[in-house]
């Protein structure tokens, strides 16, 4: 049953329940005006709702009843028992039909003329009242007997059908909220309990039930979260009407296309998005879409298209609003921005078209020359952006002149539970919503440069000079660690502004149930809410956009452009001064490799290295990579360090004895002729260092990571092979195939299997069932794990050849 219909049924029933008492009371006293009104409203609503659906019988009935009742209300007719009876009969019939609709049946064929006729006033006066009454009750009885006649079959059928149909009830939102906060509290109480149990140590009698409680609770929480969710349809529902009204008011023709109405969103979130979305639509129709004649002249369809699509991607919902109107006028926006002092002429010249377009989100910019009824002047796109950002979302715009505009909104799924990070400063903890966090860097490392310029701190990270706030300063606390021991949390605001927040240390991250704070605490403009730690103590959630704003870190348009310029110059400078990773290789040579090539530094056990005819390889994170830099005949012991290098497609490992430092290559590079693997020699801190030639290195040894091309292994089709052998084989990096027709790069056969010719083009591994059987056929005992793994590895390096 579709949702609208279900709503209709639910509403009708609800009203009926509410007015049942009234109907009885009205029967007792037909002159009672208030009761009459209630019943009138009921039939009126039913009539109105029927208009949406194709229920001619229902519509006819309710219409007739409404007519009769409105006569009474207007005083044209005196209510009498005949009328009351007839109306009651009509209501009964409506209920009967609604039942049928709910059960998903066709409304039975039949005529309601009898009932409708009974509603007609009888002009003959008093004498006929009795007969009419009789007739009405007769009808009523037939109606009922009809009911009863079918009820024997109908009742079980209905019940049966109901089990298939989703039953729904309506609940007050308050109640839902209470249940929801109750469950959040339960989660917190559970966390508290978990904490205490951990402290008390292992207690099997308690741990079991506690585990169960945990599972149940997480189930309930899931269900509750879903309860909170609402299809975005409820938001979309009102839009066609809005578009119709607006376009006809403006003499335009606009068609709206809605997509993704089944995407579910937090109920509160839907409410928050409603206004911004409406505003964007108003703008699109008012300013974006042209008059029909203009459109025709431009070779477009007369009817403008406005399309709104919702998608869920991860824990975000993206909403895309596109129109095929005239697009944003970058020149006008630019001119306006200059004239209102938002940017300077020269800034504007340096800006890309997208940047200029993004200016529409700046306060004080409206390109509408005339103040229109529709978009007005007061509330602009800046408010839209503020509102979207307030809930942790983002908004972008792109547009092509003459072709249309696209708004791209991203909004988080839910408001109240967010992923967050706990940081510590002084001896206090605070939470930061995860969505802002770009990166976490410890200041002791070399990848980050921390300087003080006047009283302002700056960090330079990856060539970006970023303003830095000390959380202790912001909050008026004292850092408990020295300045060079801070941890920097790089934060990116929805506006794109980047800044670093210095904290003492990072604690943990997890889901935070955010609760509101009292107004007196909110007045500090520092906190967005509070959340409880596992131990039940509350901590404050930082309101980062607000903190950034009060500290002057949120750009107006001008600042962000200036900063962009800076970025470019610093990154240009970055290109100019190349950086390299300094290390000592296994031959004891001090060498360096360009930093861009190094993906990360890996440490692995020596036995992960495997030497075969065509070179060395090592397994890192389940990926087999070519290995360079180990001496020919030496097999190192213990652990080996590698530089994992990548040219974006191929990767290789370079074994190093010691990793030194990242340095700048600012001395002269002297090319070397005799060793092709060395690009040049250079001086670093007064020592000669050989700079590896990345090109030659990758040309010789680069290989795409093995993982992408997993070899296949054919296994016999037995339970033992599937359940015992299979996991071992896939752990060795093979994909398993089986079956008669399949063929693998490697095949394993059992000596008790009747399959002689194994399905493979490559190596064949034979397994035997007895440990001490004859070893001449090269078979491996089937529980000789090492032998088997070794054979698989050999086969793999063969297969990779």
């Amino acid at each position: 049953m579709d949702d609208l219909l279900a709503d209709f049924v639910a509403e009708t029933r609800e009203m009926l329940e509410a007015s049942e008492g009234e109907i009885i009371a009205w029967e007792a006293d037909p002159a009672d005006r208030a009761r009459l009104d209630t019943i009138f409203r009921f039939v009126h609503t039913v009539k109105g709702n029927c208009g949406f659906f194709d229920f001619p019988r229902l519509a006819g009935l309710s219409h007739a009843a409404e007519d009769a009742l409105s006569d009474v209300r207007a005083g044209r007719r005196e209510p009498d028992t005949a009328l009351v009876t007839a109306v009651l009969a009509v209501i009964d019939r409506i209920v009967f039909m609604v039942d049928a609709i709910e059960a998903g049946d066709e409304i039975p064929e039949g005529s309601d003329d009898d009932l409708i006729a009974a509603l007609q006033p009888n002009d003959d006066g008093h004498e006929s009242i009795a007969p009419t009454h009789e007739a009405a009750s007769a009808i009523l009885e037939t109606g009922q007997s009809d009911d009863e006649g079918t009820s024997d079959e109908a009742a079980p059928r209905r019940a049966e059908q109901n089990s298939g149909v989703q039953r729904s009830i309506r609940l007050p939102v308050d109640l839902l909220d209470r249940v929801m906060s109750g469950v959040s509290d339960m989660v917190l109480a559970r966390n508290d309990l978990a904490h205490r149990l951990r402290e008390a140590g292992n207690q099997p009698t308690i741990d079991g039930p506690f585990e169960r409680l945990t599972t149940i609770l997480s189930d309930v929480r899931d269900a509750i979260t879903r309860m909170r969710m609402q299809r975005i349809e409820t938001l979309f529902g009102a839009l066609p009407r809005l578009v119709r009204d607006l376009s006809s008011e403006l003499g335009k023709q606009v068609m709206i296309d809605l997509e993704g109405g089944d995407v579910e969103l937090d109920r509160e979130m839907i409410e928050t998005v409603r206004d911004p979305l409406t505003h964007i639509i108003r703008n699109a129709i008012d300013h974006g879409i042209e008059m029909p004649s203009d459109r025709l002249a431009m070779g477009k369809r007369e009817i403008g298209m406005l399309s709104i699509a919702a998608r869920q991607s991860g824990n975000k919902i993206s909403l895309v609003v596109t129109d095929d109107g005239r697009g944003l006028d970058a020149e006008r926006i630019g001119a306006k921005a200059v004239s209102s002092g938002l940017v300077t002429e020269s800034d504007l010249k340096a800006m890309s078209r997208d940047e200029v377009q993004a200016l529409i989100f700046e306060p004080g910019l409206s390109t509408a020359d005339e103040i229109s009824e529709i978009s007005g002047r007061g509330v602009g796109m800046d408010v839209v952006r503020d509102n979207i950002e307030k809930i942790g979302g983002s908004i972008k715009v792109t547009s092509k002149p003459g072709e249309g505009t696209l708004f791209y909104l991203q909004i988080p799924l839910t408001l109240s539970i967010i992923a967050g990070l706990t940081v510590e400063v002084g001896d206090q903890r605070f939470a930061i919503p995860q969505s802002y966090i770009e990166e976490i860097i410890h200041i002791g490392t070399d990848s980050i440069d921390y300087t003080k310029v006047g009283d302002t701190a700056l960090v330079t990270f990856r060539g970006l000079r970023t303003p830095c706030l000390s959380l202790a300063d912001v909050l008026g606390l004292e850092h408990s660690v020295a300045e060079d021991d801070y941890t920097m949390v790089l934060l990116r605001l929805a506006s794109g502004d980047l800044f670093a927040l210095a904290v003492d240390r990072i604690h943990s991250h997890g889901d935070l149930v955010v609760k509101p704070l009292s107004p007196s605490v909110m007045d500090t403009n520092l906190y967005g809410g509070t959340t409880l730690l596992d131990d039940g103590n509350p901590i404050l959630v930082l309101d980062l956009p607000l903190i950034a704003f009060t500290n002057g870190l949120v750009s107006d348009a001008r600042a962000s452009i200036r900063r962009k310029g800076e970025d470019e110059t610093t990154s240009a400078a970055q290109d100019h001064v190349a950086r390299a990773m300094l290390f000592t290789d296994y031959a004891g040579r001090r060498s360096a490799v360009r930093l861009e090539l190094v993906q990360r530094i890996e440490t692995a056990k020596a036995d992960s290295v495997e030497i075969s005819d065509n070179g060395k390889r090592a397994v890192i994170d389940g990926v087999i990579l070519p290995l360079v830099g180990l001496p020919e005949d030496e097999r190192p012991n213990g652990k080996i360090r590698f530089l994992r290098m990548s040219d974006k497609t191929c990767e290789l490992l370079y074994a190093v004895r010691e990793v030194d430092d990242a340095v700048e290559l600012n001395s002269e590079l002297k090319p070397v002729a005799d060793d092709p693997l060395i690009e040049a020699l250079t001086l670093i801190e007064g020592q000669t260092v050989a700079l590896l030639d990345g090109h030659e290195l990758f040309a010789r040894y680069g290989e795409p990571p093995e993982e992408t091309a997993k070899p296949t292994c054919h296994l016999p089709d037995t339970d033992w092979a599937r359940t015992i052998l299979g996991p071992l084989v896939s752990a060795a990096g093979y994909e398993i195939v089986s079956g008669v027709d399949a063929s693998g790069d490697v095949a394993i056969v059992l000596d008790d299997s009747d399959m002689d010719a194994a399905a493979t083009d490559g190596d064949l591994i034979r397994l035997r069932s007895h440990p001490d059987a004859n070893n001449d056929d090269g078979s491996i005992y089937r529980y000789d794990r090492d032998g088997l793994v070794d054979a698989l590895r050999r086969a793999r390096s063969g297969g990779a050849r």
Binding site: Q428, L517, S520, D523, L526, L532, G536, N537, P538, L540
Partner: protein, 146 residues
Amino acid sequence: MNDLMVMVDIAGRRCALYAHDVSSVIELGDVTPVPRTPDFIAGITAMRSQTMTVIDCRLALGLDTNDFPTDDRAAVVTVGNHPYALVVDRIDDITTSSSEPGTVSGGFGPEWTRITTGMTETASGPALLIDLAKLIEGPESFGQAA
């Protein structure tokens, strides 16, 4: 008249709260301080996973804390949908009021006048009836108003 009152002492003075405003009396556990808030906001605390703002009533009146020690119990009241825990000298008893709140000639002094709706007679003597909304506003807004 004849309302139930929770009698508390604030800075040595006898005060009364309407009993139906006080949802519970709690043992105050750890209070997380909230940096950059006015003094009278002692911090936030959680009780049965409900977070509440802790108000030091002495400071909310602009009085010195040293002179009047408090005990570790706090009265929980809800103002504007937010729960607050009021730290007072001590929480005494529940009595009934025997008069409508009224004023006395000469007033109660500016600090006290701001946070009270008047004096009420109770079974355990006269007490100032606290205006909760005014109390949690703290002395700042008083300063602004003056």
